[in-house]
């Protein structure tokens, strides 16, 4: 049947029509081969716009449709649906991107119009050769993998599990909880972080639908939405988690003393330890690098083992549960899931990079996270804010924007620092009513429910706000009152005075930055990243939790810095998306995939090695290659490489692309 093409030029209000002369383009389209009708309309994506197409298909018997409007990444699904509604196969539709790639990027109206014509002509030439394709449906695996056991991952996991579906919760660290578990209070409501998070952590541990894979990492992913296969490494913890009761006696027996990560190194732990008071799973773990026995074992000696044997002198018995297993090895497990939620969070910016702030060089300069532990009742000082010498600070300066809003480090604003700095100030006023607290800020950014009110409250509480970014922290005293203290150099930009501010304690409100393993994870999951290093969402406005890889979602701070409410909201949003797919039970798989013409195939097997998905197998009898339609993702690499031209890349056939090139130059 000869092609009968309908072409529709969208004004997109003035977005396109402002630069591109749509009537000229329409006129031009009418003159193109096989074009039965060409119209322009204000908003093609609107209902009346779509109805134009539907009616023409029915009335004029169109068998091909071209819409020239925004990017196909925006509205291709919309128009494909419109075609299908009118009984036209969705693969007989083609789009010309005359907004993102024309009217929005060009100023010369004439040339923009010429380009728009070319793009339309390309689409018309191409669509004429397009063939109807049937999308296949495959079953959706109802299991979900959640990567990251912070508040985001916990929220997502619980919502899916509570809906009755299996969730694998993957956590790099020995316990879930993430950064939130380290916090003391949360802004602006000041409810205690542990009080609201630990119940969730426990229910993760108790929920039968959740399989917690703590101290484990994702190493490989294959498959596609609905049918992923993930390879996961369970790192050796040298503890039989089934036997371990989490009594903690082993730690009492261990002779070592090491900096405790959970307390940012401000407190101590043993080489065998339970990560935190409310660890989930509440099981011990051995730090192999520092365990005397494991170190000895490496060079063939049998040392220590006090945790196992006990200490007779002190009359202490060792692990009665016999949970300690020095021979444990890393183990690989493979799981099958239908969807993946990435909730890997952030890492705190290392302020030691900013030499002049003295972190790591001068005593009593703390990071925000360190202060969280310092002020936390379960922290190294049981919640007392103390200087390194054990005394209480009389003056504290909180320095905003450390590592963020700074071209030398991160250009972006970390969004939460202003608020947690206010929270710190409140805690300080509460714990040390006599102490003077200074906030050194550039701009107070308190956008959120109850946030500005919290700011006002802190002003009432008598916190000193200095509008200026600290330039330097030094211990070089220039006056008696500065002696043996820290001096913060800052301009009070509101009174235009340079000040030397003598203080006892400096808290650096550090930026949130992408975790160092973001790049590696992006590769495993084939996700893109933004210029700032965080994961890239499918659409910043309309699809903020989805990604360009179907079936993979990003939530929380791995997408961009955000506070707990926003993080939890995203987690729930992603959970809802996953549940929707699970309840649908099926997933359409891409029809635009490779297909081998057995007649033409010479059996050279070149394609087999090229295929990144091992989707091509070789039929030994017929001596031809064959494509597994479920595995093929339609990248077309094999098509381009086949010496005998036997492989056809459906919807991207050589003929179609050639025609498009011809059209774009016509």
């Amino acid at each position: 049947m000869a092609p009968k093409i309908g072409v529709y030029i969208c004004h997109c209000g003035s977005n396109i029509a402002g630069i591109v002369d749509c009537s000229k383009v329409t006129e031009f389209a009418r003159g193109l081969p096989n074009v039965a009708v060409a119209r322009d309309y204000k908003y093609m994506c609107s209902d009346p716009g779509q109805n134009l197409i539907k009616e023409d298909i029915k009335k004029l018997g169109l068998n091909r449709v071209v819409v020239a409007s925004c990017s196909p990444r925006m509205h291709e699904p919309t128009f494909r649906r419109a075609c299908q509604d009118a009984g036209l196969n969705q693969y007989l539709f083609e789009m010309a991107n005359i907004r993102e790639q024309c009217s929005w990027v060009h100023v010369d109206k004439e040339m923009a119009t010429e380009k728009a014509k070319a793009l339309v002509s390309a689409a018309v030439h191409r669509v004429a050769l397009q063939e109807p394709l049937e999308t296949k449906e495959v079953a959706m695996n109802p299991c979900t993998l959640v990567i990251g056991g912070g508040v985001a991952g916990i929220q997502a996991a619980l919502e899916i599990a509570d809906a009755g579906h299996k969730v694998y919760l993957l956590e790099k660290e020995p316990s879930i909880g993430g950064h939130m578990a380290m916090f003391d209070k949360t802004f602006p409501t000041l409810d205690c972080a542990a009080c609201i998070l630990t119940p969730k952590m426990t229910s993760v541990g108790q929920n039968h639908n959740i399989e917690l894979l703590a101290y484990s990492e994702l190493v490989e992913l294959s498959g596609y939405i609905g049918n992923f296969k993930a390879k996961i490494k369970k790192k050796a913890r040298y503890i039989d988690t089934v036997k371990c009761t989490g009594c903690g006696r082993c730690s009492e027996l261990c002779p070592t003393s090491l900096p405790n990560e959970f307390d940012c190194g401000l407190g101590q732990r043993k080489a065998i330890y339970i990560p935190s008071p409310y660890a989930v799973p509440n099981k011990a773990i051995i730090d192999a690098k520092n365990c005397l026995h494991l170190k000895g074992k490496a060079n063939g000696k049998d040392v220590c083992r006090l945790c196992q044997k006990g200490n007779e002198k002190k009359g202490l018995v060792g692990c009665e549960a016999e949970a300690i297993d020095f021979d444990q090895k890393d183990e690989m497990v493979e799981i099958e899931i239908g969807n993946i939620i990435v909730a890997t969070g952030f890492q705190q910016f290392d302020p030691a990079k900013i030499y002049q702030l003295g972190y790591g060089r001068l005593n009593n300069v703390f990071t925000s996270l360190e202060f969280e532990r310092l002020t936390n009742a379960s922290g190294p000082t049981s919640g007392r804010v103390l200087l390194k010498d054990g005394s209480e600070p009389k003056t504290i300066a909180i320095l905003h924007c450390i590592g963020s809003r700074d071209a030398n480090y991160h250009k972006y604003c970390s969004r939460v620092c202003c608020m947690y700095s206010l929270k710190f100030a409140h805690l300080l006023r509460e714990k040390l009513p006599e102490a003077a607290v200074y906030q050194l800020y550039i701009d107070m950014r308190c956008a959120g429910s109850g946030y500005e009110e919290f700011y006002e409250r802190l002003q009432e509480e008598g916190v000193n706000f200095i509008r200026g970014k600290a330039g330097e922290v030094t211990d070089l005293a220039e006056s008696p009152e500065e002696k043996d203290r820290l001096v913060v150099m800052v301009e009070d930009t509101l009174v235009r005075r340079k000040r030397r501010l003598p203080v006892d304690m400096v808290i650096l409100s550090c930026a949130l930055e992408p975790r160092p393993d973001t790049e590696q994870l992006a590769r495993i999951l084939t996700l893109s990243r933004k210029a700032d290093g965080f994961f890239l969402e499918k659409h910043p406005k309309l699809d903020p939790v989805a990604t360009t890889t179907d079936g993979v979602y990003i939530v929380g701070c791995c997408q961009s810095p955000k506070d707990i409410p926003d993080t939890v909201a995203q987690a729930s949003a992603a959970a809802a998306r996953v549940l929707a797919l699970i309840s649908k039970g099926k997933v359409e798989i891409e029809a635009a995939i490779a297909n081998i013409d057995e007649e033409k195939c010479s059996g050279c097997k070149i394609c087999i090695d090229l295929c990144p998905y091992k989707a091509i197998s070789f039929d030994e009898e017929k001596k031809v290659s064959r494509v597994n339609e479920a595995l093929c993702k339609g990248c077309g690499t094999c098509v381009a490489a086949c010496p005998s031209g036997a492989i056809k890349g459906r919807h991207f056939t050589t003929e179609e692309i050639m025609a498009e090139i011809e059209g774009v130059l016509a």
């Binding site: 030499y355 002049q356 030094t474 070089l476």
Partner: protein
């Protein structure tokens, strides 16, 4: 023998106040087997005053030197920090601003010259530690400066605004050099602070205050000598030390040397060739053990 073109600048010229730097560089180069070929009939880089009052010509006068250096070939070594900053800045602006490039080209043409932007500007210390290397330098040491406590004063323009070579506020490469010579680099927090530069003349009080801070910090950290790679830093801290003592009732006698002079001593060169006597605060006592 590795070759470089050489821009002594006014400070290191035969009549300049930093001529001892020039002498000691030449001495050290012999030991390290380097050759610095002086740009024929070079002109002053113009530095801050020219940049501020004649910003057009300031690029052109620097470019003249670069053009002449290009004819010699190789990297251009500019010992004086200010010369270094302005010569390399000219390179940068020619690269970044078409209009600057155009003007500079026209101006040079008027003088029958052309510059193709091929010259890389370097500092002496940079050449020594990165092209020659600490180990080679250490190997050339005849009299280890063991026990000598040295404050390494980089000054501002040794490390700023040009990045890459070392940390712009906490550089270490002169400290490492001192270690290579067997001496000890004392902790010196103000190692990259400013000495007042040419404003010692017009803003004496401001500059003297800065110089005093430098002396306070260096001496309180036990320094017996201070070394620097900038003629202006050396001049200010050395020549104005007496004035600081008068103004602040202090009693400092801290010898201020060019790092090349200290290298020369460690290499066992003749003190005359190093111009140790040109220092105003006597250096003999501090270095007695080694010369």
């Amino acid at each position: 023998m590795k070759q470089y073109s050489y821009f002594p600048g006014c400070g290191l010229s035969p009549e300049g106040f930093g001529r001892a730097f020039d002498w000691s560089i030449k001495g050290v180069n012999k030991v390290l087997d380097l050759e610095f070929k002086e740009i024929p009939d070079w002109n002053c880089c113009g530095t801050v005053p020219y940049d501020t009052l004649h910003e057009h010509a300031s690029f052109a006068v620097c470019a003249r030197n670069l053009a002449l250096a290009e004819q010699i070939g190789g990297d251009l070594v500019a010992p004086c920090s200010s010369c270094y900053v302005f010569l390399s800045r000219t390179n940068q602006y020619i690269h970044e601003y078409a209009k600057v490039k155009k003007e500079v080209e026209d101006a040079l043409a008027a003088g029958g010259l052309a510059y193709h932007g091929k010259v890389k500007v370097r500092k002496v210390l940079d050449v020594y530690v990165n092209d020659v290397g600490y180990d080679v330098i250490a190997a050339k040491v005849k009299k280890s400066l063991e026990g000598l406590k040295v404050a390494c004063y980089y000054g501002c323009q040794e490390v700023r605004p040009i990045f890459g070579r070392d940390h712009p506020e906490n550089p270490k490469y002169m400290d490492k050099l001192v270690k290579a010579l067997g001496a000890e680099a004392v902790n010196f927090p103000l190692k990259s602070a400013c000495c007042g530069g040419s404003l010692i003349i017009s803003e004496e009080d401001a500059s003297l205050e800065l110089i005093k801070k430098l002396l306070d910090s260096a001496v309180s950290n036990g320094a017996e000598v201070m070394i620097t790679g900038c003629p202006l830093c050396q001049l200010n801290v050395d020549a104005y030390q007496a004035m600081v003592n008068r103004k602040y009732k202090t009693d400092y006698h801290l010898p201020i040397l060019f790092f090349t002079q200290l290298m020369g001593v460690a290499f066992g060169l003749d003190e005359k060739d190093l111009g140790l006597k040109t220092s105003i605060v006597p250096v003999k006592k501090a270095l007695a053990k080694f010369i």
